[in-house]
Symmetry: C4
Subunit: 239 residues, 4 copies
């Protein structure tokens, strides 16, 4: 079996595994599990994690040129090593739903907005889980419950930063840094999409001053073509 | 009567109702009403709210295909259920004033800027009312007067977030989250409109290097058309 | 004398007056003047202010249609009534320096950047003066010196908002709100100018895939014109 | 030897010198050196600084027209006088690596993103060093360790500004101001690059409605050229 076949066949199970991972992770953090329940849920998390690592190793070994594959799949490596990143996979799946494939025009803008909103919500959710798990262990922490963690994520992703809540552990600060930069990227996506929409609206209604279309050009080329053919025939007949 | 006729006839009364709603809501929150006055004003608020719900139900029942109408009017549902969102209707009305209809070119940019500024001011006003009503009930609140609430809204919508004032109730934080994300959208609109303006300015003055216009193209197509007709006639005569 | 002649002749003196205003205002605030010095400097400030009001009244009385002039010069009114806005005049003057007139292409971008940077620096300076004068009178103020006011302005115009310093008076908060929104506009200008630059760079180097130019079009139109004229003459001679 | 030859030959040594400068500076700040070690490392820093000043003076004296060179190389002067700015040179070098030269299309976007990310990381690193060195001397400082300084830089460059840490010395605040404005520029670059990408994607797939290309135009011009030549020959023969 080659690498592409393997990847195609394992996509659906891996998406389900990442959903299981997300649910187990959410349960452990929000539920504040202890004792047997904690051990059980952690086992599920580790098991799904192991699945992704196995998938990565198999894909690497199946690849024709392992060095090339490794270099061109650094993103896959990141997704495999840091469990939190893996959940972005769930959104990548969205683009496989019919009617959600990347395409042109105003449909593209709708898709970018839907994807951006989805990524934003997922990011706020995951960041809230991650920061809560990191901060809970610290005695100086001020982010001590899940709703507070969600509020902190919203304040951070919009780069508002009141300072009523902030991470004090290094793990929590690493999560915070990721959230801030994601926030800048997300606001960039919103601005860029709005710009694309405004430009298209501004271009409408003065069609005569618009750039000539390639369609018009093909029409013209065909006409000139037709014009030069009979002329050449006429020339031939005239001799 | 069909749904469109109903919608056209009820638009003006509903705009007036939403104005009444806004005034009554403002009065209740800013005036800090108590006793009979509070009951009276609340009755007006509930009555106008009921009007919108009745309008929604009537429109749904008048629709040809109720499932399709429901799916394509989720925004109307949101506006009906959450009273605060309804006031955006007031701005939607602006686009019906003659000379304010969405159109092309630099007029579009002026309209977007006017609409954006209007939406921004309305949002700051409504958010200040909503956060004040939410926070007033809490003993730990630091947003305790309307001017402070307006200052907090401005600090939040620009995503500055000093942290001198911030919501402590969950309702207030929900309002805050909405204000932050609206702020990002508004700054995106400003940037995108400025970009459109700069692009158009940058394009002026080097007309020769500009994309050929569709007008030029139509001129050329007509000329080639005229060129090929007499040539064909000449051919016919020459034979 | 008509309004335009008056406006042309008074521009240079008014620019000098606004410079005197800025220097006197700066001196009063930063110097923390008292006694005779305070009275003297305040007299200069009021005198220059009076000059602008006189200029406004004269221009209004000289205008052909005073209603139209009033409606089309609301900006002039704002600049006349609120002294702080008047200093933007100094930057408007910049566009009259040779080589700084608004023009097209990459020169436009340089001008926007220079104007934006100038407006930003002037805004930070004026806002620092205004916030300091407003806050100095309050016993709860934390912005109590000019350097601190400048630091606060920088933190505010970038919408960072640490919260180590913030205005506590209503006048100071009004200044702060202006600075925040200016900051959003300035960052919008930076982004839009960068976008214009990136788009132009991205368009270079694949000239063949670029939109056909109006210059090429005029060339083609002339060629087709020339093509159709001798053909018509040939037809005429052939008969 | 002329100025250009000198500049070409000294580029590689100066890049190495700036690397040595960065390492020595990092060591002094992070290591918190004292005694002999401090003197030694400071000597290295001063020596590399001297190298850049010597380079500047030599280039100025070698220039054909020193006044013109001075006016057109103000950036070089800034880089020479403020050691921290010099390290941006390291990134300028990146553009000399084969395949990283500024070029058109989506490769340009990748380069801008790589350069932006590089500049961002370098800026956070240098700002953390600079703010730590500035703040360490103050008894009121809250930024007292390198990891805290990095966290502060991230919070500042994204303009989040929690206010859990902030500079209290004037040198530290100057660094902070630089970081904030850089953050706005960086987020502008991200937004502009995303906009360029979205515009290109939005343009794909409706090729017929796209502006006619210059390639199509050249094709057409050649065809009309060919059309007019035989016609002229035909005319000549016909006489």
């Amino acid at each position: 079996m080659d690498e592409k076949t393997w990847h195609r066949r394992t996509q659906v199970p891996l998406v389900l595994a990442s959903l299981v991972y997300l649910i187990a992770y959410s349960w452990r953090v929000i539920g504040g599990l202890e004792g047997v329940a904690h051990v059980l849920v952690t086992t599920v998390i580790v098991a799904t994690w192991a699945l992704f690592i196995v998938d990565y190793v198999v894909r690497l070994s199946l690849a024709k040129d392992r060095r090339v594959w490794f270099r061109t799949h650094l993103g896959t490596l990141a997704i495999t090593l840091i469990p939190v990143f893996r959940l972005v996979l769930l959104l990548r799946v969205l683009t496989h739903v019919p009617g959600m494939r990347p395409s042109a025009g105003s449909r593209l803008r709708t898709q970018i907005m839907v994807y951006g909103a989805g990524a934003g919500v997922l990011l706020i959710y995951i960041a809230s889980l991650a920061v809560l798990e990191a901060e809970r262990s610290s005695p100086d922490a001020n982010i001590t419950s899940f709703p507070v963690a969600v509020w902190w994520s919203c304040v951070t992703i919009t780069t508002t930063g009141y300072g009523d809540f902030f991470p004090v552990t290094w793990m929590g600060r690493a999560v915070g840094t990721g959230v801030m930069f994601s926030g800048i990227a997300l606001s960039g996506i919103i601005t860029a999409t709005l710009a694309s929409w405004i430009f298209e609206r501004a271009a409408r209604d003065h069609d005569d001053a618009e750039p000539a279309t390639r369609g018009q050009m093909r029409q013209l080329l065909a006409k000139v073509e037709a014009l030069s053919r009979p002329a050449a025939e006429g020339d031939a007949e005239g001799r």
